[in-house]
Subunit: 260 residues, 2 copies
């Protein structure tokens, strides 16, 4: 399957423009699955909750409708981050395809001031079956908790889609470790640009990447330019957890020896 | 405290010479705690179990006695790997000090053909209190299981001592992730050299290193030369799990959202 990561430069609060910019990049590159950044339609650096409420959408909102039209026209799947309006506000990611919504993930590990605006997800880390493989979802800061990617691998995910808005420099290299230790693919779609709002000034690091189960960086975008890259991957490779005759990295786990 | 990693080039089966070579490196560099490689006294690439039985020692064996004499003379602590003869054979590490044995760890995740010779440890991952901090122990291939370092961090370790015989290239960079995700120090003492025995030919990668809780590589040795390096570290820095006002990397874990 053809796996694409889309690195955008959202303008704070300009939902329609941001969706349009992502679609233009997607138009330029055929793929079976596109991964977009966290909160790609909204921007990130909120000062007050009213700003979140203004851009938050239900899972079937306008952003969903715009991307669904693309998925139906191109017969493809899209994973993207958005501010979800439900019983609470969530920092969510949706996985959609030609038939509509496949599934939702609500970010479990909220980063920094996200805790002021969003409720942490409490439905765990989901894995969805698509025609070309099993797709697990996590968002940005979940990377620093090894339990997130591990949970997805244990649940059978072959690929982690990982919408992100990275500000710390560590994630791109750490995802190599995540892929190695779980023998799984990962597609981290990050944003670029800067959001300087009042006393909160954030620079995003781009460096979106696709990593293989053997820790190979199959594609990596730069740190400050919007862009898109697609790689042909065989997700079945992630089923091979055995690294030699004696070691299967998942089966050999010893949960009774670990602290929970 | 002064933390030293000792990178040796053991000769297969030559226990006395290997201990002597390590002691000579240790004599050259004062430290409060020395970390030596896995199986540093024995060599690694066993063909048959008789070879393991020949070099295996009880925890109070000759290797222990030689290192204890050094610990008493220099008033220091030493962590080292050895083949342990007990009810079974274990790939073990001992932590010793001027008063004798502080504690033992028996490798939980055996790598490749180690499974033919050793019983996996089943006493979990231990943490010991020394005058300068809380020391957790794991051995070599345990690095690829994030649960090992995580368990040590949850149990309060400030420093992971990590005797190793690395043949895969990934561990030195992965330990940066292990330290970042747990906000913990790690001292990986690896060996160098090659053991070509029959059809089993192993090249060890050296690259012993000390990494800080913020993922900084404080010291790293090269890939093919025996050596020693010491760094002054304040292990209390590992108690700071809070990376901003809202995120404490250990407290914020969500075990009910993880698969075990």
């Amino acid at each position: 399957m053809q796996l694409a990561i889309v690195q955008t430069s959202p303008v704070f609060g300009k939902v329609q423009e941001n969706v349009q910019a992502a679609l233009e990049l997607m138009e330029s590159m055929p793929a079976d699955l596109y991964v977009l950044p966290e909160l790609f339609n909204a921007g990130y650096n909120f000062i007050e909750i009213l700003e979140v409420e203004r851009v938050a959408e239900q899972a079937d909102g306008l952003t969903f409708q715009a991307l669904l039209a693309f998925a139906q026209k191109r017969i493809c799947y899209i994973a993207y981050g958005f501010a979800e309006k439900a019983d609470h506000l969530y920092n969510s990611a949706a996985l959609i395809g030609p038939s509509g919504l496949v599934g939702l993930y609500r970010k479990v590990h909220l980063f920094d001031r996200e805790n002021l605006f969003f409720q942490p997800g409490n439905h765990g880390f989901p894995v969805f079956n698509l025609p070309f493989g099993r797709i697990g979802m996590m968002i940005c800061f979940d990377w620093i908790y090894p339990e997130a990617a591990r949970t997805l691998a244990i649940k059978g995910a072959q690929l982690i889609v990982h919408p992100s808005n990275l500000v710390l420099p560590y994630c791109p290299d750490a995802m190599v470790t995540r892929c190695l230790e779980n023998r799984i693919f990962a597609a981290t779609a990050d944003r670029v640009g800067r959001e300087n709002r009042g006393s909160f000034d954030l620079q995003f690091i781009g460096t979106s990447e696709i990593v293989s189960p053997s820790g190979e960086i199959l594609a990596r975008l730069d740190k400050d330019t919007p862009g898109i890259v697609a790689v042909n991957v065989d997700l079945q490779q992630a089923d091979k957890k055995r690294i030699n005759h004696y070691n299967d990295l998942i089966i050999d786990r010893k949960p009774d020896q670990y602290s929970r």
